[in-house]
C-alpha cells in the first residue's frame, strides 16, 4: 500500500512541510529522505517543519527531527519547528528528550519571522 508522501511546499527561499498524518516509522524515514533531497535540489536556506497536527512525539520522532535539523544544517539550511502542541511539549520534556540545535516557534507566521531573522531575507539569488 502506497502511503501518501508528505507535501513539501516552497515559500520564497524556504521550504515548508506540514505533518498531517500519524507517521509510522517507515513513512517518517521516507519523509526525512524526501526532505533532504528537496533541500539539495532547491538549495533552500530555511526549512519549516510544522507539527501542529501531530499529537504524539515519542523519542523516535524526536530523534528523527533532530536528525533532520542536523543533516539540513550540514547542507546550510536552518530548520525551525513550529506548531508543537502544549501536551506534546510537556511530554517531550518529561521524556527527557532534548531537541538539540533546533529553533522552535509557535506557528507558521512566527516561524517565517524567525527564519528571516536568522537567515536574512529569503530572496532567490
Amino acid at each position: 500500500m502506497e502511503v501518501p508522501r508528505i507535501p513539501i511546499l516552497q515559500i520564497e527561499d524556504y521550504l515548508v512541510a506540514s505533518i498531517q498524518t500519524a507517521l509510522h516509522d517507515t513513512a517518517a524515514t521516507r519523509f526525512r529522505d524526501d526532505l533532504l533531497e528537496r533541500i539539495y535540489e532547491t538549495k533552500a536556506r530555511g526549512l519549516i517543519l510544522d507539527l501542529t497536527a501531530v499529537d504524539v512525539v515519542d523519542s523516535f520522532l524526536a530523534r528523527l527531527t533532530g536528525d533532520i535539523a542536523a543533516m539540513a544544517g550540514l547542507m546550510g539550511t536552518t530548520v525551525v519547528i513550529t506548531g508543537l502542541q502544549p501536551e506534546v511539549a510537556v511530554t517531550l520534556v518529561e521524556l527527557g528528550v532534548e531537541l538539540k540545535g533546533v529553533t522552535t516557534a509557535l506557528n507558521l507566521e512566527k516561524g517565517i519571522a524567525a527564519l528571516r531573522r536568522m537567515v536574512g531575507e529569503g530572496k532567490h539569488p
Binding site: 508543537l84 502544549p86 511539549a89 510537556v90 517531550l92 520534556v93 522552535t104 516557534a105 509557535l106
Partner: protein
C-alpha cells in the same frame, strides 16, 4: 427439697446483682450505650454502686455527644478551607499580557504539586492564546520553593521554549535562593532577574525595544 440456707440465698443475690452490673459494664465497653443499670426500688448494698455506674454511663454518653459535635464542626471547617483553597488556586495563576508578545505571570502563596501542574498548563495555554514570546514569571510572593516545585518550574520553562517562548524568573528571595542552591537544583538554563522591573527590561531588550522620553515641545 432442701431449702437454701440464708448464706446460699445471699450468695445467689450477690451473684445476680453483680452479673447484671457486669452485663451493663460489658455492653458499655463494647460501645452499646442502650443498656441501663437497673436500680431496684429497695435500697441495698449495691444501690450506691449502681447509681454511681449509671451516672458514669450518662457522663460517657454526654462526652461522646460533645466529641461527635466537635468532629462535625471540624469536618465542616476542613471542607470550607478546601473550598477557599480551590478558589485561591483558581485566582492565583493568572497570565497577564503587558505588551505585545510579553506576558507576566505573578505567583503568590505556597505552591504544591497540583498547583505547579496548573501553573504549567496556564502558562502554556497563555503563550498560545497571546502568541507570547517572553514570559516573566514573578515568584516574589512565593515563600518556599522546594525541589519538586523547582523541577516543575524548570520543566515548565523547557516546555515553553518548545512553544517558542523564553521565560525569565524574577523575585527570587534570598531564602529561596539559598534553599535552591543547598538543594542542588540545576537552574543553569533558567534566566533570572531581581524583580519585575528588571524582568520587563530584559523582555524589552529581547524584543529589540527601547523606551525613550517623548520630545518636549518648547514654546
Amino acid at each position: 427439697m432442701t431449702e437454701k440456707t440464708d448464706l446460699e440465698q445471699y450468695q445467689e443475690f450477690v451473684k445476680e446483682r453483680l452479673k447484671s452490673l457486669l452485663d451493663v459494664v460489658q455492653s458499655v465497653s463494647a460501645g452499646d450505650f442502650s443498656v441501663r443499670v437497673e436500680i431496684p426500688a429497695e435500697a441495698d448494698e449495691f444501690t450506691a454502686l449502681s447509681v454511681g455506674l449509671e451516672k458514669m454511663i450518662e457522663d460517657l454518653i454526654e462526652a461522646r455527644r460533645v466529641s461527635e459535635e466537635r468532629m462535625a464542626r471540624l469536618q465542616a471547617a476542613v471542607e470550607e478551607k478546601e473550598r477557599l483553597l480551590k478558589t485561591v488556586g483558581e485566582l492565583s495563576s493568572p497570565v497577564i499580557q503587558v505588551w505585545e508578545d510579553v506576558l507576566v505571570m505573578p505567583l503568590v502563596g505556597a505552591i504544591d504539586s497540583a498547583r505547579a501542574t496548573r501553573i504549567m498548563e496556564d502558562l502554556l495555554n497563555g503563550i498560545i492564546k497571546y502568541q507570547a514570546e517572553i514570559v516573566i514569571i514573578d515568584i516574589t510572593g512565593v515563600p518556599v520553593v522546594d525541589t519538586s516545585v523547582a523541577n516543575h518550574l524548570v520543566q515548565t520553562i523547557k516546555a515553553a521554549a518548545l512553544l517558542g517562548a523564553r521565560c525569565v524568573v524574577v523575585g527570587i528571595s534570598s531564602e529561596v535562593a539559598q534553599s535552591l542552591v543547598n538543594l542542588g537544583v540545576d537552574l543553569s538554563g533558567v534566566v533570572t532577574r531581581s524583580n519585575l522591573q528588571a524582568g520587563v527590561r530584559y523582555a524589552m531588550e529581547m524584543m529589540g525595544l527601547e523606551v525613550v522620553p517623548k520630545k518636549r515641545v518648547s514654546s
